[in-house]
């Protein structure tokens, strides 16, 4: 794309002006209350400034005035599509801080839940991306049909569909019954068929290819230096998955591959997500098959279930990160030995992945900016915190 000023035929030396418009904050394409301050030259984007904070509620300060367990339900509300992986990161940070061992079965349950969450997130984000492209609601409905089955499982296990509040420090709140495991296995059997159908619908669709290929190309060097993580980073061809790099929880036991893109355009970001779902299915299959019997809570932490306020981790600090569906979700917790954390910080992938939004959009058309934003995959609850 070239940065050419708009000109009418035969009026090449006509004076032109740039146009400044706001996309959002109330606009369906911004996935929430998010505003893009765009300067346009004709239809081409000259500059783009993201403006956020409309959903800011100072999650970090709330957590600093609360018991450690008390902020667990608040982490659900960060990235409200993936409450299980948000819980996972926070639980890991506090476990690191207080040096708590987690029983094996609890690890397995956490991994099952985190991977189910990844399926939920990726399948719906692809639906929303197609919405942004103008394929109005058919892919989203297909995606939500599958998501519904997984949310039913969350409801059965944790009591809520989205705000699960399921993990506790040292384990999980409830055990998985054999019936639930059987139901998960049933979903795993059907999901690949759905994915195939979904791919037939989308992957080779000429309109999708034309709209998405070579749009919003993110070079690998820029992606690394801008701390971009998650499927977006891997679509640019950088092999970095925290599940592999850190081997947290029990991920080293599972066989799975890290799908990579080649160009780093919108299409690669779409396709990497499809491939990641296939890998998640592999992890889930192994986990459901191998899940051991045993405790679901560390013995040390059982008394604190009844009295969260008495849980006082020793003085220290911990940074734990998980590969959330949107990227690296990190929690930085500093304890001063009291029941409330001294400092609590969330490294939100939605927020940091937006750093390079302007670089991706400059020189593109307005309509492309919408799908670039859609392919970044943001959730405003996490972005604004």
């Amino acid at each position: 794309m070239t940065e050419k000023t708009f000109s009418l035929h035969g009026a090449g030396d006509m004076d032109t002006q740039t146009l400044e418009i706001n996309i959002g904050p109330q606009h369906p394409s911004t996935h929430g209350v998010f505003r893009m301050n765009v300067v346009l030259d004709g239809e081409t984007i000259v500059s783009l400034k993201p403006v956020m904070g409309y959903l800011h509620r100072n999650h970090e300060q709330i957590a600093e005035n609360m018991s450690y367990t008390g902020s667990m339900p608040y982490t659900d509300r960060l990235d409200y599509f993936n409450s299980m992986s948000n819980n996972f990161g926070y639980a890991m940070a506090v476990e690191k801080l207080a040096n708590i061992e987690v029983p094996e079965r609890a690890h397995y349950i956490r991994i099952i839940m985190a991977e189910l969450t990844r399926l939920v997130n990726h399948v719906s984000v692809i639906g929303f991306l197609l919405n942004d492209l103008g394929a109005f609601f058919t892919p989203v409905l297909y995606a939500f049909r599958e998501r519904e089955k997984i949310l039913d499982i969350f409801e059965e296990v944790a009591g809520a569909r989205m705000m699960c509040n399921y993990l506790r420090f040292g384990g999980v709140k409830y055990d998985l019954s054999p019936e639930v495991l059987a139901r998960i296995a049933g979903i795993l059997k059907k999901f690949p068929k759905f994915l195939e159908e979904f791919e037939t619908l989308l992957t080779k669709n000429e309109i999708l290819c034309m709209r998405c290929q070579n749009v919003g190309v993110l070079p690998a060097e820029l992606a690394v230096s801008a701390s971009v993580t998650g499927p977006m980073l891997r679509a640019s061809g950088v092999n970095y998955d925290i599940r592999k790099a850190d081997n947290y929880s029990l991920y080293e036991r599972f066989k799975f591959r890290v799908p990579l893109g080649q160009k780093g355009d919108v299409y690669d970001r779409y396709y990497v997500r499809i491939l990641e779902m296939r890998e998640s299915l592999k992890i889930l299959e192994q986990a459901v098959k191998e899940i051991p019997a045993g405790d679901i809570m560390s013995k040390k932490m059982v008394p604190f279930l009844k009295s969260p306020r008495n849980f006082k981790p020793p003085v220290g600090e911990a940074y734990a990160r998980v590969e959330a569906p949107k990227g690296e979700l990190g929690y930085y917790v500093v304890s001063d030995g009291t029941a409330q954390p001294w400092r609590y910080h969330v490294r939100a992938p939605s927020f940091i992945n937006l750093t390079i939004l302007e670089d991706l959009c400059i020189g593109q058309k307005v309509a492309d900016a919408i799908i670039i934003l859609g392919s970044v995959d943001i959730v405003l609850g996490e972005l604004d915190r």
Binding site: E60, S225, S227, Y319, T355
Partner: protein, 194 residues
């Protein structure tokens, strides 16, 4: 991956003049002005810490702190935790945005919440709070306005809009005005602000 103590000696040997201190499992940089040099060394030496995962501020009552978590994507190693301290009155720390683009928004967030000025940042504005907001909401001495109690200014505004303010609420606002106090929220578990 080197241990933190080894890393300290390595950095101090490579960049003469810098002094580091061990704080738990992290490195405290004594002079904030050395930050850029140290970060460049971390990025470009064989440590290969090309990925700045997290930048955040923290308030420790007598000083403010900026904490950096570095990882290496190429070598899949890390983290190296670097911390820089600065005083509360005039907090200034060099910006890492030129070296790591990923610091751009995170430094803006730390500025927004703690008022740490990152020198050399291309676009240091508030990111979550609105323009014209006063104060630094994440500092420990920040006094939050009580949204439940009205002040005289609120009452005047409401009456200007044609809303009839109930008498007890108005009396409370007048009382506050007389005492020269503001309607401040009491933080849970903490005594009333002085």
């Amino acid at each position: 991956m080197l241990s933190t103590a080894d890393l300290k000696t390595k950095i101090e040997a490579a960049i003469p003049g810098t002094t580091l201190k061990l704080v738990r499992e992290s490195l405290l940089l004594e002079n904030p002005n050395d930050l850029l040099k140290v970060a460049r060394f971390l990025k470009e030496s064989d440590l290969g810490l090309d990925y700045l995962s997290s930048v955040t501020g923290a308030d420790y009552l007598t000083y403010l702190e900026s904490v950096y978590h570095f990882y290496s994507m190429a070598q899949k190693s890390g983290p190296v935790v670097l911390r820089v301290r600065t005083d509360r009155q005039n907090p200034q720390i060099p910006s890492l945005t030129a070296l790591y683009r990923g610091a751009e928004f995170q430094e803006r967030e730390a500025y927004d919440m703690y008022g740490i000025v990152y020198e050399g940042h291309p676009d240091l504005r508030r990111v979550f709070m609105w323009e014209g907001f006063e104060g630094w909401p994440m500092r420990k001495d920040y006094q939050q306005e009580d949204s439940e109690t009205l002040e005289m200014a609120d009452v005047a505004w409401l009456e200007n809009q044609g809303v009839k303010v109930p008498e007890p609420i108005k009396a409370k606002a007048e009382e506050l005005e007389k005492q020269g106090k503001r309607a401040l929220a009491q933080k849970p578990g903490q005594p009333e602000p002085q």
